[in-house]
């Protein structure tokens, strides 16, 4: 517990907070990696995931690829990129983009797939084009899972961005490495607390987003639909796609 208090004290020491290389700067770097990597990953993974979910094509390949990418050790990737590109922010960013892709990809295709096929057929029957089906039906209904995928990618990157220091890429890992090398446990624990708090804040923000952006009546992604069917059908209000699971 003392270590923990030392860590807190380390964080709030003004000498550590401000200036170039201070805590604020490192937090900024940590968040830049997080949002930068997730944004780049989103550009690649979301359209691909939506296409896979919509057409059903390439699903097995996508499952395999995202499974394989998940198993890639970030440290190894980062080092490979650093050896190729040199020091700076680019090598870590690239490694983190690859880290974020599986979550976003599976979030996107699982989101579209989770939409009840009958709802989609009904949309087609009403004369919607494929593009309209995707953007007006599948995307809004699959949004909870898609946002969930983004949330999961963001959390992974924010926790892993501490490794950027291996390529002299800054971020909060600088303190962790310093603390490790000089056995300054206060610095080590302090920096870890910041990373954990950042992750929790982002988690909270995304939980909120998931609530805000889900159209009323959409329950895909909520636990209720993986629960078993009740013995007698419940009176379902406002969740028309609940049946048939």
């Amino acid at each position: 517990m003392n270590l923990f208090l030392d860590g807190i004290a380390w964080i709030f020491d003004p000498a550590h907070l401000n200036g170039p290389g201070g805590i604020w700067v490192r937090i900024g770097e940590q968040l830049s990696y997080t949002f930068g990597a997730v944004a780049l990953a989103a550009i690649i993974a979301i359209p691909l995931g939506l296409w896979i979910g919509h057409t059903g094509r390439g699903r097995d390949v996508a499952v395999l690829t995202s499974g394989g990418l998940r198993a890639l050790p970030s440290l190894g990737l980062l080092i490979i990129f650093a050896l190729a590109i040199g020091i700076g922010f680019k090598a870590p960013l690239l490694a983190f983009v690859i880290l974020a892709i599986p979550s976003l990809l599976s979030g996107a295709y699982a989101g579209v797939e989770a939409v009840d096929r009958r709802t989609v057929d009904a949309a087609r029957a009403q004369g919607m084009t494929e593009w309209q089906v995707l953007t007006k039906v599948e995307l809004p209904l699959g949004l909870p899972l898609l946002i969930g995928g983004i949330r999961s990618g963001v959390l992974q990157v924010v926790a892993t961005a501490t490794l950027a220091y291996f390529a002299s890429g800054g971020a909060l890992g600088v303190f962790i490495n310093d603390g490790l090398k000089t056995r300054d446990y206060a610095e080590l624990i302090g920096a870890s607390i910041i990373v954990t708090v950042l992750a929790l804040l982002l988690e909270g923000i995304f939980a909120l987003l998931q609530r805000l952006f889900v159209p009323r009546g959409v329950t895909a992604g909520r636990i209720s639909d993986v629960r078993s069917r009740p013995l007698r059908p419940r009176a379902v209000v406002g969740s028309p796609i609940q049946e048939g699971k």
Binding site: A110, L145, R151, Y185, R229
Partner: protein, 232 residues
Amino acid sequence: MNWVVNNLGLIWSLTLDHIALAVPPIILGFLISIPIGWVANRYHASRGVLLTISGLLYTVPSLPLFIALPAILGTGILDPVNVVVGLTIYAVALMVRSVADALAAVDSGVRQAATAMGYSGWQGFWQVEFPLAGPVLLAGLRVVSVSTVSLVSIGSVIGVSSLGYLFLNGLQRNIVAEVISGIVATLVIAIVFDLILVAVGRILLPWAKADPSARQTRRRTAERALTGTVTS
């Protein structure tokens, strides 16, 4: 590539080190998660709390955790136990949610039928609920397995031998083949573990393939576990 051929012995022994560090957290994580997940599923009020705590554990960055554990556990700074305990914590963090979801996915009608047939709560859990939850548990376990295998490397930063050694040593000596061989060996372990888990599932859960509607639920639950999007 020459480097790989000349160092197959090293790669192999590090691979064994890596496996020895990865297996205990996967099994321990699974065993520890079952009672926690059961409580989360059984008592609705505890669900949010338990799942939030386990989610919180997963956000603790791994490197500092490995370093802080000796101070907490009283272990030596180079003790592999630190890595095993750290990875077990992550495994539990991931697995509790899967266990809770898996048990929730068991048809309540089946549960009631078991009670009606005279199963006690304990019997009912182990002989009916737990086996029926098997497929979703397996899906969660596969995620835990992949994530654990890839996290083990970080242990090398604090001097616990694993394939991560090849990353750090390859970096210093500028041998790209060494770093790549570490990545490939990690991937191979992850794939082999996954195949083993799938095979174990086929042997122990033969009914898993029989019921298509159950399979769909299972697949979706598994995917949600992967994307971490099941909200409580």
